[in-house]
């Protein structure tokens, strides 16, 4: 099923914060997890993740550390901060309120 990409893009930051709640991850891992957990529903251009991650880092929602890989490459791992946890809670509440309202309105229209 094809989705309007605006649905996903609005909530990409919420999904990323939620993913990072459980463990620290690097860019490619985040994309792979998003695709896997959404059963391929959320497939977006992979590069768009990085501006979001860098903005989150600037805002203090995530912090990153660099790890050397086996191929001697620097890999950036992102981890949720305390501020990020608060942001996640706030975003979840926002989303729940929004989705509940939309669902209620759709149900009302069907009556």
């Amino acid at each position: 099923m094809k989705f309007d990409k605006n649905y996903a893009s609005v909530n990409t930051s919420l999904l990323i914060l939620n993913l990072l709640k459980s463990e620290e991850m690097y860019g490619y891992q985040i994309i792979s997890e998003l695709t896997l957990q959404s059963k391929n529903v959320f497939e977006f251009k992979e590069g768009t993740l990085y501006p979001i991650l860098h903005t989150m880092e600037k805002d203090g929602f995530v912090k990153c550390r660099t790890v050397k890989t086996e191929s001697n490459r620097n890999r950036k791992y992102y981890k949720l901060t305390a501020l990020g946890e608060k942001q996640l809670k706030r975003k979840k509440e926002e989303w729940q309120m929004f989705s509940t309202t939309v669902n209620a309105m759709l149900d009302f229209a069907n009556v």
């Binding site: 690097y26 251009k45 992979e46 590069g47 990085y50 501006p51 490459r73």
Partner: protein, 148 residues
Amino acid sequence: MCNKFGDFLNEIKYAGAREELEDHLEEKTNYLIKEKNLNRETATKIAIEEMGNPKEISRGLKKAHGFYRKIAMAFCIGVACITGIILIAMIPSPGFVEGNIGIIGGADGPTAIFVETDTSFIMPIMGIVFCICIGMLIYLLYSRKRKR
């Protein structure tokens, strides 16, 4: 920089993200080779395609790192400095005030002295412009801190 991703990575103007993007492309390419049995050339091509428009990514990264905000701040500082210099240059020194001086009095000395000068609106306007620039600068700095 790896040549096979060179064209893509050269479009990324924020150098701090190139290595990270290259790592992503490398891992994606390896995944496609291993899991989808593609040859390296095709896998590289697909990996780059799936990353999206490099110009758009570069714009997003610049925005994330406050590139445009820095330009705005530099502009404000520049305007404020130039306005300040003009203001300083325009402040007349007390010995060179142009205008008419009238003196009323008798032989035993003046009883009143009138000084008439031109009213200039340039100075207050410059002052306002200067204040607006300083205000914008403070706002930018403040909004940045508040966001954090």
